[in-house]
């Protein structure tokens, strides 16, 4: 019994079929609890008023936008090294989810920035690097779509993902060069006693858990779909020959 057994598509589908309903249920519970708790049962911030509640969508989606790319990076590496098709398909499945998370983070950031900073958009290092990350997602997905041969596409996109990661990090530090900008520094970190007041912190944690589960559920579902679509295509091709 090892992790690599799940590289077998049949095994992967069988396991995820069993797990998926639970993940969906947990996602629903976490998101509903977290958002309702955050939106209706936390006090308004002393300076920001009720706009502070955007945090319950903004922070988790921004977290997942980066983690989705990390997951794609790991999956691409696994594809390059061990050539398990499930991992390539998982990377492909994660890309649109990550792109949407990036877009949500950018949009909610704009809605938050408008009343707080008086502007929808500023060329701030964090904002800019997220926009660049979004462009990377677009390029990655476009390359998947453009190539007909599945294996070639998987190879090329995984190399693009590796190179892109390096350049995304470079860009992240390059834009730092301008100035600190409007966005605050890291608020949440693991090594601090208290990050934000517990009143906001607990519903935020539940929301983050909800977004992580949502991402997992969507990636499982989309990977299953990809596997089944590929299987259908193989069957059709065999029919055509016979």
């Amino acid at each position: 019994m090892s992790l690599w057994e799940y590289a077998n598509p049949v095994k992967f589908i069988r396991t995820t079929d069993k797990v998926l309903p639970w993940v969906w249920a947990l996602t629903g519970i976490c998101l509903v609890t977290g958002l309702v708790w955050g939106f209706f049962f936390t006090p308004d911030d002393f300076r920001q008023g009720s706009t502070v509640k955007i945090i319950y969508i903004h922070v988790p989606s921004a977290l997942m936008a980066i983690n989705a790319w990390l997951m794609m990076l790991v999956a691409s590496l696994i594809w390059i090294v061990r050539r398990h098709h499930v991992s390539a398909l998982a990377a492909r499945a994660a890309a649109p989810v990550g792109a949407v998370m990036t877009m949500i983070a950018l949009a909610t950031g704009a809605f938050w920035g408008q009343p707080m900073w008086g502007t929808w958009w500023a060329w701030d290092p964090r904002l800019t690097s997220f926009l660049i990350l979004f462009l990377f997602y677009l390029g990655y997905m476009a390359l998947w779509e453009a190539i007909e041969n599945d294996d070639t596409a998987a190879d090329l996109t995984s190399i693009l993902c590796l190179v892109g990661s390096v350049f995304a990090i470079l860009s992240r530090y390059a834009v730092n060069f301008w100035n600190q900008g409007l966005h605050q520094g890291a608020t949440l970190s693991l090594d601090k006693e208290e990050n934000i007041s517990d009143v906001f912190w607990f519903p935020l944690l539940v929301c983050i858990a909800g977004f992580v589960l949502l991402f997992i559920a969507l990636v499982f579902l989309r990977t299953q779909t990809e596997i089944r679509a590929r299987r259908t295509r193989a069957l059709l091709a065999r029919e055509g020959q016979g």
């Binding site: 660049i132 462009l135 990377f136 677009l138 390029g139 476009a142 390359l143 453009a146 190539i147 070639t152 190879d155 090329l156 190399i159 693009l160 590796l162 190179v163 892109g164 350049f167 995304a168 470079l170 860009s171 390059a174 834009v175 060069f177």
Partner: protein, 218 residues
């Protein structure tokens, strides 16, 4: 390798298009900017370093699909791949040829076009230096993009989408050097970082480009 380099250079010069077109495009972009933002001298001289950098970047981008597309179509890329030359070497030579035919002329054209944009006097040397240091990176990164999209019909647009985000760090540091030079500030830090990016991509990216090209030729 030398033979390949001279062949590519000959083709670029004699077949027409490669050598002159990038420069002409650079000229057009630079000329269009005053039409777009108006001819006020102060405004132009403020944005001139950035405009020159963006113009050079776009001129580089436009000529990228010529790196592999023609050789791919007539099959000489397959011949090159079977030649006793490592793929990394082929890719590096291709990037070098692209830089000599596109990047280098841009470096020399930039100060001339700077006159049109009333570039501040102290900026001239820094624009030239930053372009000289930065354009090799543009060529090498572009070669990677061209290798990625070589098998795709009409891949030019896709290649721009893939390559432009990769150009971001180079552009930021390059334009920063030129801007600081124009304002008479210290340019050492961004210049060193720009050189770092250039050397880094020259050293490492050919491996990725070669891997990609091998996959495409499979």
């Amino acid at each position: 390798m030398k033979a390949l380099l001279t062949r590519d250079l000959m083709l670029a010069i004699r077949a027409g298009g490669g050598f002159g077109l990038g420069l002409a495009f650079f000229l057009i972009v630079t000329v269009l900017v005053p039409f777009g933002v108006g001819p006020q001298t102060e405004l132009l001289s403020r944005i001139a370093p950035g405009i020159l950098w963006i113009g050079a970047l776009l001129a580089c981008l436009l000529s990228l699909d010529r790196i592999f597309a023609l050789d791919w179509e007539d099959g000489s890329l397959d011949l090159l791949a079977t030649a006793p030359l490592p793929m990394e070497g082929i890719v590096s030579v291709k990037a070098l040829a692209h830089w000599i035919t596109t990047g280098l002329p841009l470096v020399f054209a930039a100060p001339v076009l700077g006159v049109l944009l009333s570039l501040p006097v102290p900026a001239y040397q820094w624009v030239v230096i930053s372009l000289a240091v930065g354009t090799p990176a543009l060529s090498v990164i572009g070669t990677f993009g061209a290798a990625l999209t070589v098998g795709i019909k009409r891949g030019g647009l896709l290649m721009s989408l893939l390559v432009l985000p990769l150009y971001v760090p180079t552009l930021i540091f390059g334009a920063e050097v030129a801007r600081r030079g124009a304002e008479g500030l210290a340019v050492q830090t961004p210049l060193l970082l720009l050189a770092g990016i250039s050397f880094g991509v020259i050293a490492l990216l050919p491996f990725a480009s070669a891997a990609v090209l091998r996959i495409n030729l499979r």
